[in-house]
Symmetry: C2
Subunit: 281 residues, 2 copies
């Protein structure tokens, strides 16, 4: 491919840029980035060849990749589709899919857009957090492909496969539900755990010293940016609420078992939780 | 040191054995292990030179290391102190300290016992899960050292430092409180998260495919053994209940903000949670 334009040069956009460069998947990588510090950093790191204003950046792009917070995507996607032609493809890498697809469902150029969600990412932000091989071996979800032109879908799948990803297809509503289960609730749980410990544990030095007891693992996601995550929780509110209710119920059950000192049932529940071992690697 | 006797050849005991062997810290490593499959496995893996019944294993030991579930420790520690002499040292690596110290506080040989908790460990169990360098760079807590003979404390510190650990000293009650904050609540949260997702997500293939979205990190601890963890929750029940209440409160606050669609406050709370980044590496 001749030119790829990446809109949003943060952790995800930057990691795409790195892999695309290293694997020779595009001759030219153009960035769009409103944050001037990030733009400068991305150029210094060699992530992109050039940073341009949106309209210019779209002109020659074979593929336009949206890697900005999902609320910003809702704002810019229709305008991007206004400017592309039938030889160009637009894709996003957002964590919620239903609202975004809905926002362009009647757009004349809807078929040039491919909705996707690569299930990869770390808790760090900005172009400095871009890493090679982030997507290798992970899954990418493509949603509602029937709304996209087959050549556009083929181009997006080709990119993901070149990054080492497996493709899963899901209807957008299904995607958002599954994402609430296996990703969004984990983040809420981790944010809550960090707040719990910060509230209770006044001696921060102790947290640091003792954190290898498991805390560092469960709280890793609590370092994630609110600018990225609040829009996700807003768009996927109903599903997240549903899973959060269930999670609070399970914790309340543990609480009740501790109060009653019913350690046999506690043991049985942990046995059930261990079943996750058979599902995850 | 001539002989070290390790009681319990699981993940922790086996990892001690590996490092002690590789770093040449003892001439002979003797194991005590009631589970015959684990005993055979530990011998096959070369973790220990010999597996012996408890009384025989104690006879020639310079250092006796207890690495069994904390309820079993309560059962065997007094009997072990009955059998040791003033040249021998007994230490444990349990995750709770107050009950164990209390159980031997009037024992004639109390001063030969050193209470400790190395803050290291993975979610896997058994001698097959033993790994080299598990303790390197982590903290080990020594509790109530004023109850232990100074030569016994020196021997334990020498071992931990030879494994690359830093020493922290805490009073037992303080230890158990901190451990509830930074370790025990993380495990309960993770067990609950696994149960939540297993209950809600009937399509297990999807969990597996999409788990890289954060779930794999927060749910790692849910693979931990109930035989190890239920005794910890039993002994540290009051502290764990206290932290669990707070954790449920924070999650309920998130729930309420979602219901009210108060995403500004949600954003502020995540900003606060991000503060954990400054404390953890």
């Amino acid at each position: 491919m001749n030119q790829i334009t990446i809109i949003g040069l943060g952790h995800i956009g930057g990691s795409f840029a790195k892999d695309i460069r290293e694997r020779g998947l595009a001759t030219r990588i153009i960035g769009v980035e409103n944050n001037e510090i990030h733009a400068t950093q991305a150029l210094e790191l060699g992530l992109v060849d050039l940073v341009l204003p949106m309209s210019e950046a779209l002109l020659e792009a074979d593929l336009v990749l949206l890697t900005i917070p999902v609320d910003a995507m809702l704002q810019v996607l229709p305008g991007i589709l206004d400017q592309v032609n039938a030889n160009q493809t637009v894709m996003d890498a957002g964590s919620t899919k239903e609202a975004l697809i809905e926002s362009v469902k009647d757009h004349a150029m809807r078929s040039r857009y491919v909705a996707s969600h690569p299930m990869a990412g770390r808790e760090n932000s900005g172009p400095g957090a871009a890493i090679s091989g982030l997507f290798e071996g992970k899954c990418s979800v493509i949603c509602n492909r029937e709304g996209s032109a087959s050549d556009a879908v083929a181009r997006v799948i080709e990119l993901y496969e070149a990054l080492g990803m497996r493709i899963v297809e899901l209807e957008a509503h299904e995607h958002d539900l599954h994402a609430a289960y296996v990703s969004h609730i984990s983040h809420i749980s981790s944010f809550a755990l960090a707040l719990t410990v910060l509230a209770k544990e006044k001696d921060e030095k102790r947290i640091f010293q003792l954190a290898s007891g498991g805390f560092d693992s469960t709280v890793r996601l609590a370092k994630s940016s609110p600018d990225m995550w609040v829009p996700i929780f807003r768009q996927n509110r109903d599903n997240v609420l549903d899973v959060l209710d269930e999670h609070i119920n399970v914790l309340s059950r543990f609480r009740s078992l501790l109060i009653k000192k019913d350690f046999n049932t506690f043991h049985e529940l942990i046995d059930q939780a261990n079943h996750i071992r058979k599902i995850l690697k």
